[in-house]
Symmetry: C2
Subunit: 347 residues, 2 copies
């Protein structure tokens, strides 16, 4: 493990994306988005993604200079095309459209199509909550082999890890920030278990014959990840597909394994009650929940988003730890683009 | 077990609600709603509820003649008061408002407050899908002791079983109909295990000290039900509280353990793509998922709503089985109101 400051990682990733063809503003925004995931403790969505994004640029899947545009709209809805650029850029634009429409018309639904990986959903729901808007996002539409999750009762790949995010504004407390995959575990965790050769917990994967396994290799040999909570997580995952991808017609605009889209809902609190009254009531309710005594093995009850805010405070102070292999892959990606990433990062 | 036709149970429940003070149209609608739950296989939300509803009328909590009204609205939103009547009546009215607004403005959010138990959420999301609208419902705001679910990491009661429902229109297939509690199991299942004296599966409840238990008695002695999928189900449950109850201010209009509300989202598919194109794409996607080979122990992959539609077809043909105790309690409830329920039902 090596420690980096957020600024060092942003400089490195920003320079790489810029050298790979992204205008400076896009390169800096995507770099900042990845580093924010590292700060929040979600390293699977952090700078570890840099080499793959650059590969996708090279393969022509990701158009680094593309800017999103609204291709269909009503006062309360919009379909946004990411024009196959960075998903993060499309998601930020979509969230801005959703916030503007929700402020004008109280409720808005914005769907994104023709886009690459959008990163951590919570970044965009949080944009809404910061503006007094209740936000919800889901992403769906990945297809096998990228989509590694089985439907409940099935032994084959059909669904992505199709995440859900919600954000709710608060008064004095940190916002409520929900962000989770509808699979039992994220695929990144399987990569870690495979690299270390450690067994998985029971109930996470099936092997290619549909039998339970705790060996991560069995997933990579054609197995599946299970949906969380059996038929419940499966139903949520299917809904993420239908809302995120089928509603805006992503399947007709996608290719192969990428038929993805993102669904964003924005609700203006003021349509129901004054914002200050709502946020005070949310704070009060969160207090009731924080007051529940912890179960054996737990120190306290946490509100969704609390672990991330604590990680951010801690990593802003003491730095972001990266495994050597992750940093070396980023350095090698820079090298191919003629960049001395170690010098750039001052690392 | 005794077998009843849907018509018999509707006559019995309708006559009881009418004798307890509900106008005929309300009595018949609520009776039909309960019997539909029985048909769909969700007996915990069926006519087993009749005695408790009548008790609530007697206690003054449920005003059987009350009709809902819209108390605040914009072109895209509404807050509906159930005026403490039957929750089913408020929910049907709310769904009608949401459908009308979604057809006019493409997206609508309707929140219900001041209401009693609304029954099976899927009934109201299905109303939307039947009109070419994608529907989502959540209910939250129950307080202990009725609210028996612990937050993740907690050993005390704080949340209800806070359900989610989604419905999506289809072309030739049955609609997608999602409807689940965010707890591992519904409380009704615990009642069954307690009555039979059978152990619960592991991971369903904690005893009053926060230790895992498989003895249903431990729940009734002050224990808790766990949220499904740990922190994920907890986050969904909390969001059902904040969307369903806090957004429309149900906590300020409720009392004791009933500070509940319901959140309804209605989305007009046509704002994104022609309905026929969408429903064909949904059918195609469902076909891909049905084609996944079943895992050992399963016969096929099911789409959410399929088990319910099969139960309905089967029970419409061969009747609805009710345990003797359930029927006897309904007969006794009728007796107190001067009704001969056996004669009424022709049973």
């Amino acid at each position: 493990m090596q420690q980096f400051t957020a600024a060092q990682l942003k400089r490195a990733a920003g320079a790489i994306f810029n050298a790979a063809g992204a205008p400076q503003d896009i390169a800096d925004f995507v770099a900042g988005s990845l580093v924010l995931s590292n700060l929040m403790g979600h390293d699977s969505h952090g700078v570890i993604r840099v080499p793959r994004y650059v590969e996708q640029i090279r393969e022509g899947q990701l158009k680094p200079a593309a800017r999103p545009e609204t291709v269909k709209e009503t006062p309360t809805t919009a379909t946004v095309s990411g024009r196959w650029g960075f998903g993060q850029v499309a998601a930020r634009y979509g969230a801005e459209v959703a916030i503007r429409k929700a402020k004008e018309a109280h409720v808005a639904v914005v769907c994104l199509v023709e886009l690459n990986h959008i990163g951590r959903l919570g970044e965009y729901s949080a944009m809404m909550a910061e503006q007094g808007i209740v936000g919800m996002l889901v992403t769906g539409g990945w297809r096998p082999p990228i989509a590694g999750v089985a439907p409940f009762g099935g032994a084959g790949r059909a669904l992505g890890t199709n995440p859900y995010s919600f954000a709710v504004p608060t008064a004095k407390r940190d916002m409520v920030l929900v962000d989770f995959a509808t699979s039992v575990l994220a695929e990144g965790k399987l990569q870690v278990a495979r690299a270390k050769g450690t067994p998985l917990p029971a109930g996470v994967i099936l092997d290619k014959n549909g039998n339970p396994s705790t060996n991560a290799e069995d997933f990579y040999a054609g197995g599946v990840i299970l949906p969380v909570g059996g038929h419940k997580g499966y139903a949520l995952s299917l809904m993420a597909d239908l809302l995120g991808a089928t509603l805006p017609g992503a399947e007709a605009r996608g290719h192969d394994w990428n038929q993805t889209g993102t669904f964003m809902l924005a609700i203006d609190v003021e349509a129901f009650r004054p914002l200050a009254e709502f946020t005070a009531a949310v704070d009060h309710r969160l207090g009731e929940i924080k007051d529940v005594p912890p179960a054996p093995g737990f120190k306290e009850v946490l509100i969704p988003g609390e672990p991330e805010m604590r990680s951010k405070a801690e990593r802003e102070k003491s730095g972001i730890p990266l495994p050597e292999a992750t940093w070396n892959a980023i350095v090698a990606t820079g090298q191919k683009l003629g960049l001395d990433v170690n010098a750039l990062a001052g690392a």
